[in-house]
């Protein structure tokens, strides 16, 4: 596992309802130097989006209680302060329709469970680097 790379923790929003997976994600991301805020349901995520400060990136599942990942992508893209937040989906759904739908709604990347932590980290770093380069 790579050591933390950035001096100031980069804030991330993780939306995942499964306890085992969210623990793995929190462990991996915190070890990599990120400041992780966890939302366990679509409702918690909605609250974070509408009332919280935008993170550097949102990592989200699709199948969630109350509001699914697709609805959350729409919400993020419709919330002015969050519009530029890169969205990485991490889902067990590997059907082409789901992937295309997520991308069409505004997701930047789509990873499939079971996943490789190193691949997830490199995807997140790539997205953050692309965001920090002024267009």
């Amino acid at each position: 596992m790579p050591a933390p790379t950035s001096p100031a923790p980069v804030p991330l929003l993780v939306v995942e309802d499964n306890k085992d997976l969210s623990d793995i994600l929190m462990h991996v991301l915190r070890r990599a130097g990120f400041d992780v805020q966890l939302a366990r349901t679509g409702r918690e995520a909605e609250l974070a989006i509408t009332e919280g400060a935008p993170p550097a990136l949102a990592l989200m599942d699709i199948g969630l209680p109350y509001k699914d990942g697709f609805q959350l992508i729409q919400l993020i893209r419709a919330t002015p302060a969050w519009q530029q937040v890169p969205i990485v989906m991490l889902s067990g759904r590997n059907r082409r329709e789901d992937i295309e739908r997520a991308r069409a709604l505004g997701a930047d990347d789509y990873l499939i469970k079971p996943f490789q932590p190193a691949e997830l980290l490199s995807c997140i770093r790539r997205r953050l680097a692309a965001r920090s380069v002024p267009s």
Binding site: I24, F115, P117, A118
Partner: protein
Amino acid sequence: MIDIQAADPFVAFAYLASGGIFLLCGGLLLVIGALHWRRRWRDHRTELIEARWRPLLLQSLDGALPEFPPLPARHRLTVLWLWSRMAEWLEDSARTGLVRAARRLRLDRAARELLTDGDLRERLLAAVILGNMRDLGSWDELVAAVDEWHATLSMAAARALLRTDPRRALPVVLDAGLRRGEWPIGMLLAMLREVGPRLVTPPLCERLRTVEGTRLRRLLSLLPIAEQAKVRPVLLARLDASEDPEFIAGALRHLGEPEDAERLRRYCEHPSWVVRVRAIHALARLARDQDLPLFARRLDDAQWWVRLRAAESLLDHPRLTPPALEALLEGVAVGAEGRHTLLQLQASRLGA
């Protein structure tokens, strides 16, 4: 208070019965309460054990293993469940640390014991864990579990074998999959797809040459996952030598190359109508103009299904205009029955 001895017998009976029912309800409430309390206590205990072991297992993901405390036997099953759930989220290559942790904690040994001595739920758990660990030491136990009567357990064992050593496992899994009709073919296909066509093709071809009856027909459903260039010659040889209409009809589903046309035309005249239906369907997919007279002739087939398939092939042909169809029917001298089938199909499509 009622004096039972002095009371009317019916009143006394009602009094005693209501008392009995009251006691019974009280007893039931106590049992429900006890069960509820036991469940909560168990959940609480599980949470405590997981809270202790989860951080240690998470640390093992980082590479270097942490210092593990001794794992008490009474905690082992809970830790096995936790390990299994965590492992399911990670790709094989990312599980190395977890597997090393499991071996350090002797969870592999515990899983092997469960696989042979546990109840059904525990045996399922053990098969999944041993597969995720790619534990070669439990090979014989997993092979034995593939023959278990319970389909879910046997398939879990088969999947574990394929994960552990796919090349060695394929003959065992294929033979069981062909023998056991209760294994859902979709799940078998999914397991074999994980292994990939390169490894699956040789044992599949070998069985395509040798197996018979229902196993042969079941094998046909597995052919799409094999390398078609290698499996096709074996299938054609087997097809040409076969007299079994069910097998022939099943095999024709896999034909559809231009070079199959001559063979398909022959099967359009097969004595079995099931084969004729399938052959016309496969031939129609090629959409060749020279086959149109054959489809028109089959409009006079004795079997309604064959006539319907022939009519569909004509109406779905991309280059057959209505005047050309009429000329074709005239040229082949299609009878009243054939024309009627064609009309029926046209009418049903107009209606739709």
